[in-house]
């Protein structure tokens, strides 16, 4: 783009607009992509806790189950969400998770819990995961 040289006949260097637009658009696409890809994953129903030293997430959705644990402060009760479906009873969830673990030994669970959750609710979810025979678990947290 832009024709070579960058100089006029008199030898004076000229400002080339076309390469500048190229660079600007590349920068714009870069910043757009890093901003939107992170925001899209955050579930607004859950306020994740902050852990500044947590590791970067593995991007392997086929090998992992994401358990969202919502907390209703008004009702003082938690609700487990898995694949956009609520599970007030944990038995069906154990069956699903153990089935996935049997098919894929590398299957893991990511717990996305609200920061206001009492520890007893987290333990109940960990009991479900243990019943399904899964030992590899991760806790989701925000970096800031």
């Amino acid at each position: 783009m832009g024709g070579g040289g960058g100089g006029s006949e008199s030898g004076e260097p000229e400002f080339q607009i076309a390469p500048m637009i190229d660079v600007l658009l590349v920068l714009l696409i870069f910043f757009m992509s890093i901003t939107t890809s992170q925001v899209a994953k955050i579930d607004k129903e859950i306020n994740l806790p902050i852990a500044t030293d947590a590791k970067k997430k593995e991007k392997n959705l086929a090998n992992e189950a994401i358990l969202n644990i919502r907390w209703s402060a008004a009702k003082q009760e938690s609700l487990i969400m898995f694949q956009d479906r609520p599970y007030p009873q944990t038995e069906p969830l154990v069956d699903i998770l153990s089935g996935s673990k049997a098919q894929n030994p590398a299957y893991r669970v990511v717990i996305r819990g609200d920061k206001a959750l009492p520890a007893i609710e987290v333990q109940k979810v960990m009991a479900v995961i243990a019943q399904a025979g899964i030992d590899d678990i991760s806790f989701s947290a925000l970096n800031q």
Partner: protein
């Protein structure tokens, strides 16, 4: 009639081509917006943990007995290590607790021993505080974590 024709000629002479300068202005503004947003974006990270009861037995050389550390998380936010209180309940970074864990891990590594941490949280202790403790364990590179609440058998 003639004025109409003149206006038509004028309109034909107006250059309706692509204007580069306003486009650059707009692109600059959009780029600045995304640059500023990129710094403040909240990124979802993860704290890994392995439930120790289910890990396959190691086939390596026999190890020493694992060191078990008991970490308590109280409802008020106090964090204890082997019943000794560390840091203030509002301190998210837990610097003294983290430094002690790192020292214990280093000692265990020197003896080729495994470190197993049992988090004993009170029933109404917040998940946020448990995550603070898990964050400190990540800094100390301890991954074997057992979790118990209110004196129940843990996982």
């Amino acid at each position: 009639m003639s004025s109409k024709r003149e206006r038509k000629v004028e309109a034909e002479n107006v250059n309706l081509g692509f204007q580069i300068a306003p486009m650059i202005d707009v692109v600059f503004v959009i780029m600045l917006f995304f640059m500023v947003m990129a710094g403040a974006v909240k990124k979802e990270m993860e704290l890994k943990s392995q439930l120790p009861g289910m890990a396959p037995p190691s086939l390596d050389a026999p190890q020493e007995m694992p060191d078990e550390i008991i970490v308590g998380v109280e409802e008020a936010g106090y964090v204890t290590l082997n019943e000794e209180e560390f840091d203030s309940p509002t301190d998210k970074k837990l610097p003294n607790f983290t430094a002690t864990l790192m020292r214990l891990k280093q000692e265990a590594d020197n003896r080729n021993a495994k470190v197993i941490v049992t988090i004993e949280a009170e029933e109404q202790a917040t998940y946020e505080r448990v995550i603070d403790v898990l964050n400190a364990l990540t800094v100390a590179k301890i991954a074997n974590v057992t979790f118990t609440v209110g004196g129940d058998n843990g996982f």
